[in-house]
């Protein structure tokens, strides 16, 4: 009886699973199917299967797109690590005033890349706060805006909270006594950091690194606004262009499949590492 009751409770999860299948799994499966068809034919109901032709086109014509899609988020993740790790350490180990405002500002970029991209774009245009910097260094704003550097900067602002979050959760699990023990045994602060804190917090930092990478794979408006013509050559922008403007859904689905695979791999790694950590 008890067992039967338990089973019947577990069955309550079925509506959620049905929803997940209908609105998440079936769309993804359809994208994969669509990646083997020509143009709009799949979406209009008469799919013309063309085999791996779309994949050949992607490898031939979109190699730079795939390269950029990997390099931009990767560079942003490195920048995030450099900026975010010390911040996470300060948040966990030291008393900080205005903690709530600090946290709110950290959670803020979660809710959209609209403001990050629009704000940065305005800042880099003539008349923005970077005018002084450009005047001093003698650069033109065009040497920063509409280049990969601007895109990477935007990406890193967008995902800095993830890095801080993951690193902080991993740091807060380290017993402060470990650090003190290192000091008592005569280690310099630098040595204590390298040999004790960094290895112990590595899983969180790596998970944060991959999470930053994974979230930026889906970034759309940041490369579009900050990347101009050349540096906006990333997969999300191409997919939107191919679907909404060119109606070449077959090719777009191929790119989407590749993007999805990249996201799955990075998400899987994040899960795997955080599970090992705790």
């Amino acid at each position: 009886m008890e067992k039967l009751l338990k089973t019947s409770y577990i069955l309550l999860i079925i509506p959620t699973i049905v929803y997940l299948v209908l609105f998440w799994l079936i769309p993804l499966v359809n994208i994969i199917l669509m990646s083997f068809t020509r143009g709009e034919s799949f979406i209009l109901g008469q799919p013309e299967y063309v085999g791996p032709q779309n994949y050949i086109v992607v490898v031939r014509d979109y190699a730079s797109t795939i390269r950029n899609t990997i390099i931009f988020p990767l560079s942003a993740a490195v920048l995030d690590f450099i900026l975010g790790y010390p911040l996470a350490y300060l948040l966990v180990r030291r008393k900080v005033l205005f903690r709530n405002i600090l946290r709110a500002s950290l959670i803020f970029p979660y809710f959209g890349d609209i403001y990050v991209s629009y704000g940065l774009w305005n800042m880099f245009l003539p008349g923005g706060p970077f005018d002084l910097f450009f005047n001093i260094t003698g650069l033109s704003y065009r040497q920063v805006l509409y280049t990969p550097y601007a895109v990477i900067l935007g990406f890193s602002i967008f995902t800095l909270p993830f890095m801080v979050l993951y690193t902080a959760s991993s740091l807060s699990e380290i017993d402060p006594a470990m650090e003190e023990a290192a000091y008592t045994l005569g280690a310099s602060p630098l040595r204590a950091f390298y040999q004790v804190i960094l290895p112990l917090s590595a899983p969180g930092a790596v998970a944060g690194f991959i999470a930053c990478f994974g979230w930026n794979l889906g970034g759309f408006l940041i490369p579009l606004l900050l990347g101009g013509v050349e540096a906006s050559d990333v997969m999300t922008v191409k997919i939107v262009y191919l679907t909404l403007q060119l109606h070449n859904y077959g090719l777009a689905a191929t790119l989407a499949t590749v993007l999805m695979l990249m996201t799955i791999v990075s998400t899987y790694l994040t899960f795997k590492i955080t599970r090992v950590a705790g």
Partner: protein, 258 residues
């Protein structure tokens, strides 16, 4: 000490600078001779269509949060209370939609909406589509608060003769109230700011604020009016997030804040 605060201020400024600059842009106008303060001029220039879209977005956001709750609560409850086969894989699958890029979800949903479900451009389709990538944000806080809630309360209610639905409505739901609120805030704010998914699935039939803002930024990005529009949405988001952080305890956030 000083270096510590200097560093924190610098990083926070790094994060917030785009947000602050949009706000600054919405109050000032740059002429050839310098910067002119124009007060609320740009705010008064916002067209009425924008305000209608704001109302639409608020309604859609609330309804999507409700759908998210309906989808996520049974799953969160069962994942937190029962052990069964393949639970790990199921948990990973249930959380996975959050990590799907909006572009991929958008193309996929548009395809099946046009081909099979006939929901393209419909209100219901928009709601269900938005819910599909946002419900993990409801699931995680609910799961976190259910897991830390001692099952003894439910057992007591059951021994006192409460029916299963009474246990849920009178004991469990009130006790995890903060977790529910947490999930509602997260999904609501997320919906309000999502432009990419509606771009694919509404077919232009429903005006949503974020979509309008997106197209305004693309075509009229240099106008002060657009900065004012963006400022309104981002100030609203910031206030909601700040209130949320102030009012909710650590254990209800489901890994969503420090």
């Amino acid at each position: 000490m000083l270096i510590k605060y200097l560093y924190i201020v610098l990083v926070v400024f790094f994060i917030l600078s785009p947000f602050i600059f949009i706000l600054y842009r919405s109050f000032t106008y740059r002429t050839y001779w310098g910067i002119e303060f124009v007060g609320l001029k740009f705010y008064s220039e916002i067209p009425s269509a924008y305000w209608r879209a704001l109302v639409n977005s608020l309604i859609v956001g609330l309804l999507v949060s409700l759908i998210d709750f309906t989808i996520a609560f049974p799953a969160a409850f069962i994942l937190a209370r029962y052990e069964f086969k393949y639970k790990r894989i199921l948990t990973a699958l249930l959380v996975a939609p959050m990590f799907t890029p909006d572009v991929v979800a958008g193309v996929g949903l548009a395809t099946i909406y046009i081909r099979y479900y006939k929901l393209y451009g419909s209100f219901v389709g928009t709601l269900l589509g938005l819910a599909s990538t946002s419900y993990p944000m409801m699931l995680l806080p609910l799961f976190a608060s259910l897991r830390t809630l001692d099952p003894i309360y439910e057992d007591v209610a059951r021994t006192l003769g409460a029916k299963p639905y009474q246990v849920v409505t009178r004991v469990v739901l009130p006790l995890i109230g903060p977790g529910i609120f947490s999930g509602f805030v997260l999904t609501f704010v997320w919906c309000l700011n999502n432009y990419l998914l509606p771009l694919f699935i509404t077919g232009g039939a429903i005006d949503l604020l974020a979509v309008k803002l997106y197209s305004d930024i693309r075509w009229w990005g240099l106008l002060g009016r657009v900065a004012a529009e963006a400022s309104i949405l981002q100030i609203f988001t910031f206030i909601v997030v700040l209130l949320y952080l102030k009012s909710i305890g650590e254990r209800y956030k489901g890994g969503f804040a420090l």
